[in-house]
Amino acid sequence: MERSETEEPQRVIASIDEVDAGLEAAGYIASRRISTAMFIAHHLRKPILVEGPAGVGKTELAKSVASWLMLPLIRIQCYEGLDEAKALYEWKYGKQLLYTQILRDKVGSMIGEEEDLRSAIEKLHSFGDVFFSKRFLEPRPLLRALEQPHGAVLLIDEIDKSDQEFEAFLLEILSDYQVTIPEIGSVVAVVPPVVLLTSNSTRDLGDALKRRCLHLHIGFPDEKLESRIISSRVPGIDARLLAQLVSFVQQLRTLDLKKLPSVSESIDWAKVLVLMHSAVLTEELVRDTLNVLLKFESDIEAAGKRVAELTRKAQQALA
């Protein structure tokens, strides 16, 4: 943390409103809570752990932050069995092997000069580390994020899908922005990256990880925010249709469904409706396109019974 403000090429964000405006310019309509969290994270240099249902824009947030700050986005998708060889670095075994083969004669002749085994080994020792230097290191996403000259946005997606060991392994990066490679030593970030972790809460994350992160929960947006999001993503949409659509989706979320429609689904739906040149929501239209919003047969069936009533209510929504 000592290196903080001195050598920074990174810009300093002055206010929460600036975050709001920046994200909006990048096409992401953030709630106040999201902007506040980004602002705090920027100043405290802390990773943010973003939780919430699927499709509310957790991954999108990272992309937008990257495009707003004009930093490269480095993404690592977690899954069971992900280990440091795939996340951090890997030795280029092939290259090491190839080089030793090519250099075999050279090595042979150099060692050949020595008269006994002991001094041959001494000789080998003196240049043995050559094959374990950075030249033979294949950087994986985490290491790349630390090595970016102007910083980066590091997105660790669906951390809850990874193993517990991997979670523990992340702790060093998250708190000190450095990693330790046994053969080489510690690699410290050139510029600390902006780190976002996302989780769908399929399992509880460890306390140690949570303590190192700020926690942001993104839920379903309210009617006003959702209209703003959709109109920014689907620019051509008619205001009346938008109001009806949002009202319908919001009502749908109050039903007892297996998977509630998320923001990404309502954006898709809006796109479909615009493509179909519909100006208002009708019951028939809703029935035909319900499969865009709902992904389970049982949900479509359950919601199908209420479509007439929900559409009627939605039609009363004012633009």
Binding site: R32, R33, T36, I40, K46, G94, L97, R211
Partner: protein
Amino acid sequence: MSEASASEPLRRFLQVARGAGLRISAAEGIDAARALDLVGYADREILKDTLGTILAKTLDEKVLYDETFELFFRPNAFSERRDASAASEPQAQNPWSASEPRGMGAGGGQSLSELLESDDRAALATAMEMAAREAGIQRIRYLTQKNMYVLDIMNRMGLRAVQQEMDALLDAGTPADTARAERLERGVERLRDATRDFVERNLLLYARGETEQLRERILKSARLANLSPQELERMRVLVRKMAKRLATRYARIQRRRQRGQLDIRHTLRQNMGWGGIPFVTAWKHKHLEKPRLMVLCDVSGSVAWVSQFLLMFVYALTDVLSDIRSFAYSDSTIEVSDILEREPFETAIARVATLMGFGSSNYGSALAEFERGWMQDVTNKTTVIILGDARGNNTDPRTDVLDRISKRAKRLIWLNPEGRGSWGAGDSDMYRYAPYCSMVRVCSTLEHLERVIGELLEKR
């Protein structure tokens, strides 16, 4: 920067939040202080979001945090009611402002009677806050302390002087003085209400977490047989909570590495690309199996209570246990697995009890029946748990059956709700059974249950 340099309101809030059950580390406290230096206290929403991202890290904690924040940063009762009361009693206001203020203030500040008469609510609120802090309101823990604190705070605000003044006015007896005394009386009454309100709110803030924790501690170590029906619902919640904690702890450990043993086949296969030179090594590991469980529960007499909680516990753990089969016995044995799986727990337990009737226990015949009906399902992967007081009313204990079960099963655990002192006394056959069990434990409280099931999951 240390937590000590955090501003006073933040420090108090952290204390309150910890009391309410949020786990906040010192590092998080420091983060909160640093964040507040950035955003300040001016905007309440931003303040709430900021502290929320730092202090509350699960959905449950967010709910708790929101409640605590609303309670703590709620505007004082005085300033809140200011407009409402001004609107509702204008006639009461007028004579007050007309009345002539009397100089009784000590130092620069006004006396309480003046504040009451002028109805300066902001000043009253400040005075109350100060008096409350002097009285040590943050140490309030129990409802019974409420009146004590109310009185203490009002005394510190100068109630006694007001009362003396009122007595003097009444003694004087002129109509004007009497009217003034009455006005003061009303003011004191209002002050008392506000103070009571204030103290109650603080009681909620400071004591909620601790009383909750205290109750839980008491319930966990209370003998299950002695519980009153009112406590039953709380116990159910508690059992679910404990089971969830055990489940998350053990769900993760599915395999354990056997350190130092090379998995040669796997290693060779992985290194084919490099001509079999082992650059990447693979190690053997052991897959840990979920325990298969057969639970035999005595449903007669006082043991029935413990049985109920054991079954609740076991069925809340379906994530980390596999193939749970449960049996109820008193003088005979029946399988109750599907009743417990199908029906909600409250009715299922009652159903089991009526199915069994209230026969007196006969361990010998119950065990024999278990052997006849279900012995073929006991394998070397099965853990058998028997819950009972081993009091067979002087019938044949049939230890030979238990011996055979023990030999077939992976483990045989006997849980006895009676204390060790009474084992072997009277018709108790506990010491006859004990040699065949891999583990015998006293089990009469939730804590015992948790420990036993923890051990079960630990030693897979």
